[in-house]
């Protein structure tokens, strides 16, 4: 039997005050527009909850009310506005005030789960050889040859060509080394390998010295050349205004390197020349291979200055012991 309880206002003080009429009904509709109750389960909207305001004290005081005041355990649930005191006083309310354990509710949070892994392809585990031809920039996106073991013999190289090679290693996870140090291979017109040339000198300079002489300076960093390092500075010098050409002209002079701390320094003073002459020079590093064969760096930078005889010549010095130490010019 269905029993509907409709009340514009209700007041109850007893355990289950509102529930008692319902317990012996198979279903019931409770619509309370206002209700006050004190007691256990004083107001509970069971089937068709339309309680627009309610005040209650007790356990499970009010549920699904549009507005409610309550004191008790689980006093308020799913309310649009509410005041409450008690344990779990408010849950999922849009506005709320609360006092008690877990008085105020919830915020939305997010969390991530992240993890990495690698994918292997053993065919990617290889050496990659890149090359530049006759000074062209090396294309590291496209290896010239790939192979899996060393030593490796490349395809034939062209005559009269200079190659720059870089060898890199790629692993099975598609990661590659990033080295860029090149090694050079020069093939002459006869198809013969030109010995690896030493590096060119740097910081080349020329300046007028005493009595029309010139001072030539340069530095050579020999460590990167390793076993192919040079041992001599080779100097070409002209004072007639012409440009020295190492491929044609005989070398003017050579100076044996003194190597220390990774650098060999050149400080060369020429003989005296006339005043106001245009002096030009080129300095190369030289290694003497078995033969003997001179293997020079191939730099072509020319430096120049104007000779000047106005300065005095450097004095000679003699020192001898007598009653008085003397200097003689």
């Amino acid at each position: 039997m269905r029993r509907a309880i409709r009340a514009s206002s209700m007041n109850f003080r007893q355990v289950g005050a509102l529930l008692a009429p319902i317990q012996w009904s198979s279903s019931a509709t409770i619509i309370a527009y206002s209700a006050d109750g004190r007691g256990q389960y004083s107001i509970e909207v069971l089937v068709s909850p339309d309680s627009f305001s309610a005040d209650a004290r007790g356990i499970y005081d009010v549920k699904v009310a549009a507005s409610a005041d309550a004191r008790g355990k689980f006093a308020l649930m799913d309310l649009y506005s509410q005041d409450a005191r008690g344990q779990f006083a408010m849950l999922a309310a849009f506005t709320q005030d609360g006092r008690g354990v877990f008085g105020v509710g919830y915020i939305t949070f997010t969390a991530d789960g992240l993890g990495l892994f690698r994918v292997a392809d053993d065919t990617m585990d290889r050496y990659e050889l890149f090359r530049g031809v006759d000074g062209a920039t090396i294309d590291y996106d496209s290896p010239w040859e790939t192979f899996t073991t060393l030593p490796h013999t490349t395809a034939a190289l062209s005559v009269d060509t200079t190659y720059a090679f870089v060898l890199r290693k790629r692993n099975q996870h598609n990661e590659t080394s990033l080295n860029i140090q090149e090694f050079t291979v020069e093939i002459d017109a006869n198809g013969d390998l030109v010995s690896t040339r030493p590096s060119a000198p740097v910081n080349l300079a020329i300046a007028p010295a005493f009595s029309g002489a010139v001072l030539i300076t340069a530095d050579y960093y020999y460590v990167p050349d390793g076993d192919d390092a040079a041992t001599i500075f080779a100097i070409w010098l002209t004072t007639d205004g012409s440009t020295p050409d190492p491929d044609i002209d005989a070398v003017t002079d050579t100076v044996t390197m003194v190597k220390a701390d990774g650098v060999a320094k050149l400080s060369y003073t020429s003989g005296a020349f006339g005043d106001g002459l245009t002096a030009k020079a080129i300095v190369r590093t030289r290694r003497i291979d078995a033969g003997p064969v001179d293997v020079d760096s191939n730099n072509t930078t020319i430096v120049s200055t104007t000779t000047d005889t106005d300065g005095p010549t450097t004095p000679g010095v003699d020192i001898f012991f007598d009653k008085i130490a003397k200097q003689k010019q």
């Binding site: 999922a92 997010t110 969390a111 992240l114 993890g115 996870h173």
Partner: protein, 346 residues
């Protein structure tokens, strides 16, 4: 002052594979169900510079993402946190012996959990470098050459636990995206076989190879495919890359929506026995290749993903992650798996 196990720290991820609830099992490759382990999932790596000696970093939330964060100590007993690309959060008082979460101001889901171990005054600013973690329970192990050649299908199980003192509601889990979504308006796959997916937009921030989720314009899931390479506008899909993650091959459409996704599906499982200490399907004996009979999902939004709902305090729920490797996969040095959680907590 957010204590640990509140806010975004309410839900913690644990390994599984233990013999009883909370027992020791620290190997992510053995996180294959049964009981929750005492070990947390390592979601983000952190290295700290200039950290006070009496501060221990317990964990950083994965929500931070990778990059440089800072932990500053403005007074002798307070700490403030700035997530990568974030903004400095509120000062948190932390006394000797306490563990607190220090949150970024812009997003409180980005936090660091720290413990103070002595009364020595806190001072200075620590720089935290946050990095993704390889081979945790979410990433799984590396794919060998044999597996990438033949293909592979394997699982891991983690345990979500409400470690807070109150209930967590509206807990949802879904797959994360790995790039900017787009439209396949410049080329679509046919009904079967290899092909390309092309856009007038850009795939510039997509992985070099990986999975593409294709949805119809009304967000109906059409197909997920695997692409072996890409350019800024073209994904190359081999025949073996069709019909991935439980989908079937279908011809595309110029209005299809496309998403970069990891090659994973997820499934949830309620514990057997006690809601707080029960266990899950046990694959510790059968191994990672034994797929449990669960409902696998690859959806990418909270609305369409998996809903766990409410977890009372201390309650647990299982989350399975199933990773697919396509035969002929491209070698990769770094592949990311990503999942998202949303929930309401106090």
């Amino acid at each position: 002052m957010p204590n640990e196990k509140t806010h975004a720290d309410s839900i913690r991820m644990y390994l599984t594979g233990a013999a009883s609830d909370g027992a020791a099992q620290a190997d992510p490759d053995l996180s294959l169900g049964n009981y929750r382990s005492s070990s947390l999932v390592d979601v983000l790596g952190v290295s700290a510079a200039s950290l006070p000696a009496n501060i221990t970093i317990d964990q950083v939330s994965a929500k931070n993402g990778t990059g440089s964060a800072s932990l500053t100590f403005p007074t002798a007993d307070t700490a403030r946190y700035t997530a990568p690309s974030g903004s400095i959060g509120a000062a948190v008082t932390i006394a000797n012996g306490e563990t607190k979460i220090i949150e970024d101001a812009g997003d409180t889901s980005k936090f660091v959990r720290i413990t103070r171990t002595s009364v020595v005054a806190l001072t200075g600013t620590a720089t935290l470098t946050l990095t993704d973690v390889f081979n945790n329970a979410i990433g799984s192990d590396n794919v060998s050459d044999a597996e990438s050649t033949a293909g592979d299908d394997e699982i891991r199980a983690i345990c979500l636990k409400n470690d807070s003192a109150s209930q967590v509601t509206a807990l949802k889990v879904y797959i994360g995206q790995l790039g900017t979504s787009g439209v396949s308006d410049d080329g679509q796959l046919g009904a079967a076989g290899s092909g390309t997916v092309e856009t007038t937009g850009s795939f510039a921030d997509w992985p070099d190879s990986g999975f593409c989720r294709i949805e119809e314009s009304n967000n109906t899931h059409r197909e997920t495919v695997y692409y072996t390479s890409r350019t800024a506008t073209v994904l190359t899909v081999p025949a073996a890359g069709r019909s991935q993650l439980g989908t079937s091959a279908a011809a595309g459409n110029a209005t299809d929506l496309i998403y970069a996704v990891p090659g994973i599906r997820i499934a949830i499982e309620a514990p057997t026995g006690d809601a707080s200490t029960g266990n899950f399907t046990d694959k510790t004996g059968a191994g990672e290749g034994s797929i449990p009979a669960l409902t696998w999902d690859s959806d990418i939004t909270a609305a369409t993903g998996l809903s766990i709902g409410t977890l009372a305090t201390t309650e647990i729920y299982g989350l399975w992650i199933r990773r697919a490797v396509v035969a002929g996969s491209t070698a990769e040095s770094s592949v990311l798996n990503k999942i998202h959680l949303t929930f309401e907590a106090a």
